[in-house]
Symmetry: C2
């Protein structure tokens, strides 16, 4: 049995949606960032990085969204969530998801997690990072808008593990101060994703426990 | 035929080593960061992100180190550089490489590329980022030191695409101001990697053209 550790409003949503897409049997465990659960010994024993998501499997714990998404796709091949039989096509999927984690998510993280990269007491530097977020997040999404979203899904006609991950990060655009009118294709993708039952189930499950 | 676009002293080295490990037929094209080649139209036509590495294949261009490493491993299966037939083991490989790109490399990038996350004219904020690099890069490697490097290779007895990537980022520890005496296992791995002929060939090729 798989168990997904997540926190509300985090990138864990991507794996949550993929588990729904895959038709997986799984459970979830919600941890609270406001309660700082991710730094408590019980959770650090599961994920020493002190972050979400983490996926507990029969063979051990997996972390890092691109790896977890690929694992879900490979473990549930009938759902056809990634082209494992085609090295180039699979690399394109991985490249997209790697870009999301190493560039787009990182730009976003400078709004709330600036203390990772400057002294936590340096309020001016942290504020300077926050001021740049609308521009840096926009630039990350602009490359997607202009050339990385084939349509209707990220990889074209076939829905893959890129789609729930893009949808998840696109949830944060307004809070990051990005003018979504400049990203019509990303926003259309987000809207269509929001209509999928798997996405609605994952979101409903997270919201039901968020109180 | 594969062609690797790289710049000296960058994470492109990881893919360069993996191509050597794989016994691939490939060419390389060096671009100069000091000449700002990565922002010129010729290169942006290859990689709109304006970064290295990029791998030109018969089917198109691949970017993002974790994806390129997986592509090289899958394209040259005799080299056994990744366990594609085992979803959990492959996800562990991908999780390690994803951590390197989204956490370890990102911390390092705050030394030279702070303008990505604050206004480029804000010298104080950029200096504040630079001051934090020794600590943030150390913390990223400390998790590897303490629990992610099974030994003798990252994944244990079997050499994988995690090893050239870790080696590549470990090249930068001294310049990032990290006390390497605190990372004996990472440094031992780096030393043993440096003894491998494939690594020596990739390094020699990059140095021969670096002048």
């Amino acid at each position: 049995m798989l168990n997904l550790f997540y926190a509300a409003h985090t990138c864990a949503l991507a794996s949550h949606i993929a588990l729904e897409d895959a038709g997986a049997s799984y459970t979830t465990t919600r941890i609270s960032f406001s309660g700082n659960d991710q730094r408590k010994p019980d959770y650090l024993a599961i994920n020493p990085k002190g972050r979400v998501p983490a996926l507990v499997t029969d063979r051990g714990v997996l972390t890092e969204t691109p790896a977890m998404l690929a694992f879900i796709a490979q473990s549930f091949p009938r759902a056809r969530l990634a082209p494992f039989d085609d090295a180039f096509a699979f690399a394109q999927v991985q490249a997209f998801n790697s870009y999301l984690c190493s560039t787009v998510h990182v730009s976003h993280a400078h709004r709330m997690r600036g203390y990772r990269w400057v002294d936590a007491g340096n309020a001016e530097a942290i504020a300077a990072m926050q001021r740049q977020v609308p521009q840096s997040v926009y630039e990350g999404f602009a490359l997607i808008e202009q050339g990385m979203l084939a349509g209707p899904w990220v990889m074209g006609e076939t829905y893959t593990i890129c789609d729930p991950y893009l949808f998840t990060l696109a949830q944060w655009l307004e809070a990051d101060g990005v003018d979504i009118a400049r990203l019509p294709r990303v926003i259309d993708h987000r809207r269509r994703m929001g209509e999928r039952p798997a996405v609605q189930r994952a979101l409903a499950a997270e919201l039901a426990r968020a109180g």
